[in-house]
């Protein structure tokens, strides 16, 4: 094991973590501010990816495609909130889970009818190659772009939540919804704005991950589970918690996939190691979550005490 290997894996973990953060930040705000369990958050990620892919092939430009896709997804999120989800806030969590689960199925089939089961989405050709970061460390240019965008958005979100009036309203809503409503905050409009921002962040993640993964129906379901793990680890409603949680989960997942296999090879025969490694790697994230919950049941950065 060399320094370069560790550095490359750290970058990989960070890149994955930042993309998870884009999903988890929206989810944690919606959960924290509106007390709403939105299982269809992953579907917004899927809708965003499809819109980005569709616009990219329509305009011939990846940048325009992703920007346009993000705007359209934010609009889609706002419409969804006003027309449907708003009526669920007063209901209990079980009703919300049932309704948003139905939404997953509806959106899956809806996207399939409109766009088909999958769409091609490729990164710009200029970013196809590697960049030499250090002697001996070639890193894909496209992943560096993802890292930069992820960091930029995390910073932007931090400024938005901590330093602006909208952010103050969001934080107030997250820590005590009724009280902020009683203080004259237009809660209904705030919720719509938060939901649209959450949807836009999903679309950024979908558009940027599309070329690395695949833009296909059902892509949001697996990643949604990780996003929930992150907000539980980070503390529900906390943007800072979502960021730290996402980077931790990204690192555990990335390192788990390689280091665990190597570790098992040290003391197990190869055929056992190759069976045990992947099995443990896929549960590493959940073991991590269990450990955090034992130590800090409210998550790392609880918003409400």
């Amino acid at each position: 094991m060399t320094g370069i290997f560790v550095l490359e894996q750290a970058l990989n973990g960070l890149q994955f973590g930042l993309m998870l953060f884009l999903l988890a930040s929206g989810l944690t705000l919606i959960f924290g501010v509106m007390d709403m369990i939105n299982l269809a958050h992953g579907s917004l990620y899927m809708v965003g990816a499809f819109l980005c892919a569709w616009l990219t092939s329509a305009t011939g430009s990846f940048v325009f495609g992703v920007l346009g896709g993000v705007v359209l997804t934010a609009l889609f999120g706002a419409v969804l909130e006003v027309s449907l989800l708003r009526s669920l806030y007063a209901r209990d969590h079980l009703s919300q889970v049932l309704a948003t689960f139905a939404l997953i199925l509806i959106l899956n089939d809806g996207v399939k009818m409109v766009f088909g089961a999958d769409l091609p989405l490729a990164a710009p050709a200029a970013l196809d190659g590697p960049v030499e970061l250090l002697p001996g460390l070639m890193y894909p240019a496209y992943r560096l772009v993802i890292l930069a965008v992820g960091f930029g958005l995390a910073l932007l979100l931090y400024v938005l939540v901590q330093k602006t009036r909208v952010g103050a309203l969001v934080r107030a809503g997250a820590s005590n919804r009724e009280m902020s409503g009683a203080m004259g905050v237009d809660v209904a409009r705030l919720f719509t704005v938060v939901f649209a921002i959450g949807a836009a962040l999903c679309a950024v993640a979908g558009g940027l991950l599309g070329p690395l993964l695949a833009v296909q129906v059902g892509m949001g379901e697996n990643i949604l589970i990780l996003a929930f793990v992150i907000i539980v680890i980070g503390g529900i409603g906390s943007i800072r918690g979502a960021l730290i949680g996402a980077i931790l989960v990204g690192a555990v997942d990335t390192l788990g996939r390689t280091l665990l296999q190597q570790l098992f090879r040290e003391f197990l025969p190869p055929q056992w190691a190759s069976a045990a490694g992947p099995a443990f790697a896929s549960i590493a994230v959940y073991v991590f979550m269990a450990v955090v919950l034992v130590l800090k049941p409210q998550g790392l950065f609880p918003v409400r005490s």
Binding site: I4, N12, D128, M138, A214, R257, T258, S274
Partner: protein
């Protein structure tokens, strides 16, 4: 709806009467079950198109009999495939079954055909158990044994003098079998072996490990979309300069070349067929396929085409006496037809003995990429490692 159903039933009924009284059948029925929807559908669609092309070129006949091909979609689900097999065998009374892409799906559905004395001709899946201890007189593989491409790749790595290899496959049975095939022939050192989750699409972590391991050769078994993503990311990570990426034929076929694009140029892969084979049967097949479907055929298409050719030759030699299963078997086993892959014959386990070639991806002269084969086979008259476990003689 009901009327159509009634008419169908009547026809089926009349057909049953006819087949019971007449000594020779007046038509052939083929049940074709394959994966025709979802992310893996490209493979099933190509087998179907190859099969139907052969039927069409033969004037809608197999031998001298008109043929009816009942095409249905298994949706990539073993239980659906089994139901479709049952329907084709018991209700439609087909003479042959064929079409399935994936080994796990075929193995689940196969008993419906074999237990009811219907011959299955595999146009793709050829798992090792069916070659060895579970071999069956009614099962023919006209494609290639599951391990063969990987054995050929191991042999090619030897020939090129490579000493170290890193292996990567999904963590499931076919993945492990394929790497076992490579290790069977490769004489150098396996310095790393990594199993990923089936369906994984982001390989950043594995690529970092491969970079650290510094193998001369990387061999992957990643069918479908997994392979497309891996190859793109492998090139994006700049590993292509120091490490030779070696692929099984289906991971460097036309359905992978098109989405991946230029990074595919110059990659080596192993297969039993290539679009540039010079034999007359293949030239005709490739030209007709492109004319009919406006795309370059894949391995899967060639296998579907050959499956129909095999049936055609057998029905021709039987002179219509399809009721006699034993005679049909013999006719299939001794069928003489011009395969698009060149010379090929059945082993005692009814798996093919044939040549395997190294192919490399190069320019097609029209701005695209296509596979070109080496003249000399890498494995000559190659069977499989399981035949001695099969009691059939």
């Amino acid at each position: 709806m009901i009327e159509a159903l009634l008419r169908k039933t009547t026809i089926a009924f009349v057909a049953t009467l006819l087949s019971a009284t007449a000594p020779a059948a007046d038509k052939v029925k083929v049940g074709f079950v394959s994966t025709l929807s979802g992310p893996s559908s490209a493979l099933g669609i190509d087998i179907r198109d190859g099969f139907l092309l052969a039927v069409k070129l033969n004037g809608g006949k197999l031998g001298s009999l008109p043929v009816e091909v009942l095409v249905s979609d298994d949706q990539f689900k073993p239980d659906v495939a089994r139901q479709l097999f049952e329907k084709n065998v018991k209700r439609d009374k087909v003479d042959f079954m064929t079409g399935v892409v994936f080994s796990n799906i075929m193995l689940a559905a196969l008993p419906e055909a074999l237990d009811n004395k219907v011959i299955y001709i595999s146009a793709n899946a050829a798992p090792s158990p069916m070659a060895g201890k579970d071999c069956n007189p009614l099962f023919f593989a006209v494609s290639w044994p599951n391990d063969a491409y990987h054995e050929a790749a191991g042999q090619f790595a030897n020939q090129r003098g490579f000493k170290s290899v890193y292996l990567l496959a999904p963590n499931y049975q076919a993945g492990k079998d394929s790497l076992a095939g490579f290790k069977r022939t490769f004489k150098g050192e396996v310095i790393g072996e990594n199993y990923t989750k089936l369906g994984q699409l982001d390989y950043a972590a594995e690529l970092a490990e491969i970079r650290a391991a510094r193998p001369q050769v990387l061999y992957i078994f990643l069918p479908g979309g997994m392979g497309i993503n891996f190859i793109k990311q492998f090139v994006g990570a700049g590993l292509g300069k120091d490490i030779t990426l070696l692929l099984p034929g289906f991971s460097a076929d036309q359905d992978v070349i098109n989405p991946v694009g230029t990074p595919m140029a110059g990659l080596f892969n192993t297969a039993h067929w290539s679009p540039d084979f010079a034999n007359a049967a293949n030239q005709k097949f490739v030209a007709e396929f492109q004319k009919e479907y406006k795309r370059v055929p894949t391995l899967y298409a060639s296998q579907g085409y050959d499956a129909a050719q095999l049936m055609n030759a057998a029905v021709r030699d039987l002179k219509g006496k399809l009721d006699d299963v034993e005679a049909t078997r013999k006719a299939l086993k001794n069928a003489k037809f011009e395969s698009v892959r060149g010379a090929f014959r059945f082993n005692t386990n009814q798996y093919p003995i044939q040549n395997y070639y190294v192919r490399t991806v190069g320019a097609d002269g029209k701005g695209g990429l296509i596979n070109k084969s080496f003249n000399e086979p890498i494995l000559k008259d190659h069977g499989d490692a399981y035949v001695q476990l099969c009691p059939m003689k």
